[in-house]
Symmetry: C2
Subunit: 194 residues, 2 copies
DNA sequence: TTTAATAATAGACAGTGTATAATTTGACGC
DNA sequence: GCGTCAAATTATACACTGTCTATTATTAAA
């Protein structure tokens, strides 16, 4: 039908990502379908292909949206907390994964082909979450250990992620872990203690 | 063509899992195809469906094979090591993931539908790896902390997994981590120190 | 009003997992 | 050896998928 006057390109892109993210939340990565996204916003599959080029491009955009929401969620949950901010951060990490189960899982279910690397925008979105953790660690570490913060943030993100992942994918249920949040927090505290 | 005299049911199952695992190693979960497995062993797709019931059943069998090989690898790498066995264990965890990149990733790329749970055989295969870690921790913890070993093993498996996962999926490259193995080992040592 | 460029689509292609009906095969009793 | 019966295997159809190209519809510019 050609150009629709009320949908300039950036707005169309936004429509697709919004609907795609909604569908990722509902059905998850394995059952996600670009065609279904197109159908729901009243466009044909070809349009999505025109805008994002490939399936990978679409998924990266949707996962990027999830990362943005995650960062926002972490910031919101930390705002105004003056007590145990590290605990609050770990809690928020888990909470987001639980509430956004499928979209969160899609961040890790999707892997780029071996020869591709993620666009710079995606790297920035990951880094934004990382920076939040760095800031929290700087606030809690003694000044003479400030330069440890970035390396520690990377390691503790991985640590908390591992606990969250095993919670979400059922590994901890198999192994009989009943309080993964406490376990993750214990590892965080040890590392900060040094 | 009917029954083939040289392929009783268990042997056919083994053929399919072996070829499926080979293909998982080569192309990974996203490009894995049950039809291609059937073609390569000279059977039709229907046969695979008859033996495994569903796609999920086939993938679970293949991932179970990967878990068995992982356990064997860990045991082999620990055998005869009388020095720093914890370091050796963490090394072996990473090594297996690197060498069996795609098959290892498939363990986590694949998620059962929300309403299904893994068969007991799969749970046992996961537990077998867990038990290796428990034994190593018991050996290194003071006797009065022995009963901590299972909980600590769960948490440290998650910790090492998180570091390994971020290494394999590119997150650590984005964040500039250059020695994830050392970071993982540092977390392990802190936790053992208590 | 014609022209050029852009936006969007329709349709084809080669795949996929799933499912069922039909066929081939092997083993057993006679 | 022959016919029977059940098990093993396949052929085929279905409704999907992501990808891609040629075509059409629409808008803006000349």
């Amino acid at each position: 039908m050609g150009r629709r006057s009320d949908h300039s390109r950036p707005e169309l892109r936004e429509m697709i990502v919004a609907e795609g993210h909604r569908q990722m939340l509902e059905v998850g990565f394995a059952r996600f379908s670009a065609r279904e996204v197109a159908k729901r916003i009243g466009y044909s599959i070809g349009t999505i292909y025109n805008v994002f080029g490939t399936y990978e491009g679409l998924i990266l955009a949707i996962n990027g949206r999830t990362l943005d929401l995650w960062r926002d969620y972490l910031e919101a949950r930390l705002a105004g907390e003056h007590g145990d901010r590290l605990k609050r951060a770990v809690d928020a990490y888990f909470e987001f994964a639980v509430v956004n189960r499928h979209a969160w899982a899609a961040l890790y279910d999707f892997r780029l082909p071996d020869d591709m690397e993620p666009p710079e925008s995606y790297a920035r979105q990951v880094t934004a979450i990382f920076e939040i953790v760095v800031a929290e660690l700087v606030a809690v570490l003694p000044p003479e250990r400030s330069e440890e913060a970035p390396a520690l943030a990377r390691s503790l993100l991985a640590t908390v992620h591992g606990h969250c992942f095993f919670t979400m994918n059922g590994t901890f249920r198999i192994l009989g872990e009943t309080d993964p949040l406490a376990a993750a927090l214990a590892r965080v505290r040890e590392a900060v203690r040094g």
